[in-house]
Subunit: 104 residues, 2 copies
Amino acid sequence: MTENTATEGLDQLDRVMAALAHPLRRQVLLVLHFRGGEMGAGDIAERFSCSWPTTSRHLRQLEESGLVSVRRDGRQRIYVLERELLTNTLGNWLHWFKGNVRPK
Amino acid sequence: MTENTATEGLDQLDRVMAALAHPLRRQVLLVLHFRGGEMGAGDIAERFSCSWPTTSRHLRQLEESGLVSVRRDGRQRIYVLERELLTNTLGNWLHWFKGNVRPK
DNA sequence: TTCTCCATTAGCTGAATTGCTAACTATACT
DNA sequence: AGTATAGTTAGCAATTCAGCTAATGGAGAA
């Protein structure tokens, strides 16, 4: 198998940044975080005003970025926030800008 | 005038995240940072492989997000990195995820 | 003024994104 | 088996995005 789940073509930063570009996807991450990091797809979807399939697709995009992972539990699909990936990826990029360079 | 430069409709986080979604725009910010925070449009553009107008548009998008500002100097246009806006906006959002919530 | 240089705006095309409804899959319940 | 529940996939339309070339604007130099 050549596909590593979220490792095809673009690098991690590209995928994470693209996933974070949409307000609803950022909101999903926050909801997940404040509900303990794990939620069923339905619990997530009912908190948003758009249609279920639309939310479902956003969830898949988050999964493909690696920011969440999925576990099955009976007929539920549990989405799990990958908090470290989020904070590391974003934090590491942001870190480039922390030092003063030629402060003038 | 009703337009506040980078304040029409979307909020700051939306605009910043959208601007950061494109690899070239992130690269521009890094180049700006490591060259001291200020560069002429031409100096920026010649570092990228795409056409000049394309880079120019990315620069405008960055400006509309507030991540850079522009100053004129003779016939040059100097782009200035708004480093604090970048680190504050991104840092503040990221900060929500720093604390453990219901750590299990 | 005219010419040149720096850079943007205009206008187009193709691809990606986002939303919807309808149809489908899979598991559980009776 | 048959039905209900949980959620995704398929397929479509509208919008936005990203790239290009060509045309334009604006400031300085001759």
